[in-house]
């Protein structure tokens, strides 16, 4: 169940980002700034963190049997953590890409400044966005479960 829901959440977020970014016309430039390996690593990080957070959010709930009490509260908490963990992974992977592809261009001052931003305002922002996405996805999950009961 965690695998199905977690991968659904990852794919839904990925697709939503494409829907937001492509019509505006800036997607090509954004993606071109990432190396292929860094892009794949960022997606794998999102996927892993999301499946982990989903598995923790549904732990102890028997969703297949319709026992979903407290799921929204759990989704809010684990969605928020998911957002923060992904932001930290994203920042770390970008820093590693910069260190590998252009050694010597990233100063310690820049790393500290970036870490301060990511650990402070960035984390608060990611916490909020993650919690909202968690709530929205939990509602979609419950709608999916209601439909699943009608299918079989």
């Amino acid at each position: 169940m965690a695998w199905i829901l977690g991968t659904f959440h990852t794919a839904a977020v990925g697709l939503a980002l494409l829907f937001l970014a492509y019509p505006g016309g800036g997607l090509g430039v954004t993606l071109a700034s990432l190396s292929t390996v860094a892009g794949l690593a960022i997606f794998l990080a999102l996927w892993t963190i999301t499946v982990f957070a989903t598995s923790r959010a549904i732990r102890g709930l028997d969703l297949a049997a319709g026992a979903s009490a407290g799921y929204h509260r759990r989704a809010l908490r684990w969605g928020a953590l998911n957002g923060v963990l992904f932001l930290w992974s994203f920042a770390a992977l970008l820093a590693v890409q910069q260190l590998v592809t252009a050694p010597g261009t990233l100063s310690w001052q820049s790393i500290l400044l970036g870490a301060g931003f990511v650990g402070g305002i960035g984390s608060l922002f990611a916490l909020t966005i993650g919690a909202v996405i968690g709530l929205v996805l939990a509602s979609i999950d419950l709608a999916g479960l209601a439909l699943a009961r009608r299918i079989g």
Binding site: I4, A11, L15, A32, F43, R150, I151
Partner: protein, 142 residues
């Protein structure tokens, strides 16, 4: 592995994941129309696990394929762009159909649910995947 080889590896993974998803859906649809739902639960459950692995790989490599265009990614208003947006809409529809389908199969495996709607939803899945493959062909050769 140089950049060109990496781009080819990403494309290979994308096509292999789609072949797994589409081929598996056609097989389960065929089985669902031939056998009672209770007899296909085991194979359907394995397919659902594989399906979501393939969906993750498809989204990851799909974004990788877009990245390979770089600044040359066609504009949304172009013919390619319209076909790409249509493909995104069909993928969204596939996800919306697939979540309850997978949960229904998981529920059938865990309980003794009848699975009365399984035939229809696997048929819809195969139809959506056929549409996505057709648009992917247009995007690759258009």
């Amino acid at each position: 592995m140089d950049h060109q080889q990496l781009v080819l590896a990403v494309r290979y993974l994308h096509v292999a994941a789609m072949a797994t998803t589409f081929g598996g859906a056609l097989l389960i649809t065929w089985l669902a129309w031939r056998l009672p739902a209770a007899r296909i639960v085991d194979v359907a459950l394995r397919y659902e696990q594989l399906f979501w692995l393939a969906i993750g790989v498809l989204v990851m490599t799909g974004v990788g394929n877009l990245g390979a265009f770089g600044d040359g990614l066609p504009a949304p208003a172009s013919g390619w762009g319209r076909a790409f947006i249509a493909k995104l809409v069909l993928i969204a529809a596939l996800l919306i159909v697939s979540l309850p389908r997978s949960l229904a199969v998981a529920r059938m495996a865990a309980t003794s649910a009848s699975g009365a709607g399984v035939r229809s939803i696997y048929t819809a899945t195969s139809g959506l995947l056929a549409g996505i493959v057709a648009l992917a062909l247009e995007l690759a050769h258009g």
